[in-house]
Symmetry: C2
Subunit: 196 residues, 2 copies
DNA sequence: GTCTATAATACGATAGAC
DNA sequence: GTCTATCGTATTATAGAC
């Protein structure tokens, strides 16, 4: 079990640091130091070095968020409430971390989407997973496939952009504005999509 | 004139590199090297070092975009067309750079919003400038102040988020989806805002 | 799986000449 | 304004012992 614990310590720490300092702005030494984990373990768990750690951190954070999104769609009373829940969850996180931490996938993608193809693909996969979760939920409510996919992509864009603006302005106003206007779109899509 | 030329070479090069590699992922050595500019000039024009260069690059890129946005709103036939123009402009840039370059303000903010307070404020100012440009255009069409400001914030969020997703997926689909759904919101706001 | 030591390089920043 | 040289330090990555 020591194996999983050590690796998890790596991923939890890199996740936290990437979210606040970005991928390129975070050194491996700092991750090892703050995780309280042996330096010798780094290249044991992540033989591909920093890019490897980046990819696994993106998958780790992306899967965790995806599970939260899925749970949100399963529990919410309707689709608009579920989508709003995604924004409310991010608002909570921004408040809890005093606007220090954004999204790990976004941070890594922003730094190395044009630099490392494997890492870019890992980020792309996480975004695609989230979109599938949202899209599936709308498909169940008889929204046609194309509309559901386009809407899901738009929701993630708005969520990521608003997270960046809120972090930069140290204000949840952008997040609330995005939540409000995305809701307008969700209502419109649900209204226009006939239940046939 | 040599002064302005050298400084401009710095800013144009750092702008380009920050957009593709991020702020932390770009070294001063690389900027100097690719700009073909003397190393000794760096701390002459940017005495505050890398953070100073980051702030001035953000202002440089932010102002340039703001002028483009203003021109777009002045020339477009109506507000929906002007807003769509912002997305079309970004689509062009993504295509022209083969999805290498995103937004400089976003790249710098993503890396150091939680690390350097002065740099964060510079990024925040650029976002605010853009929002004011958009907000003013909607105010002229009798949209009330609060709605105009909230809509402007939302448009920037969607634009930044879609830029990140498009860059990460190497596809303009997220950008087009964002443009389409933002248009729904713009139409709705214009319809709901009475001309009194 | 972990430890220590270290390689090789890149980083931001500075000094002093001109 | 620019040039060259260089200072510490941090970076990622590796080697070999245990």
């Amino acid at each position: 079990m020591a194996k999983r614990d050590t690796k998890n310590l790596f991923l939890e720490t890199s996740n936290r640091l990437f979210r606040s300092q970005g991928f390129s702005g975070t050194g491996l030494k700092q991750i090892v130091s703050e995780a309280g984990v042996p330096w010798g373990s780094l290249y044991h768990f992540f033989p591909g070095g920093k890019d490897d750690l980046g990819m696994q951190t993106v998958a780790f954070a992306g899967n965790a968020d995806n599970e939260l999104f899925k749970a949100g769609f399963a529990q919410a009373k309707d689709l608009p409430a579920a989508v709003a829940g995604m924004f409310k969850y991010e608002i909570q996180h921004l408040n809890r971390t005093d606007f220090q931490e954004g999204c790990a996938v976004a941070s890594v993608a922003s730094d190395v989407a044009a630099v490392s193809e494997p890492v870019r693909e890992a980020c792309s996969r996480s975004f695609a997973d989230w979109e599938e979760t949202i899209s599936d939920a709308f498909l169940e409510q008889k929204v046609n496939k194309r509309d559901a996919k386009e809407l899901a992509s738009f929701i993630i864009s708005a969520l990521e952009g608003a997270t960046l603006l809120s972090r930069t302005k140290r204000s949840i106003a952008p997040m609330k504005n995005a939540m409000k206007h995305v809701d307008i779109v969700v209502q419109q899509v649900l209204k226009d999509s006939p239940n046939d």
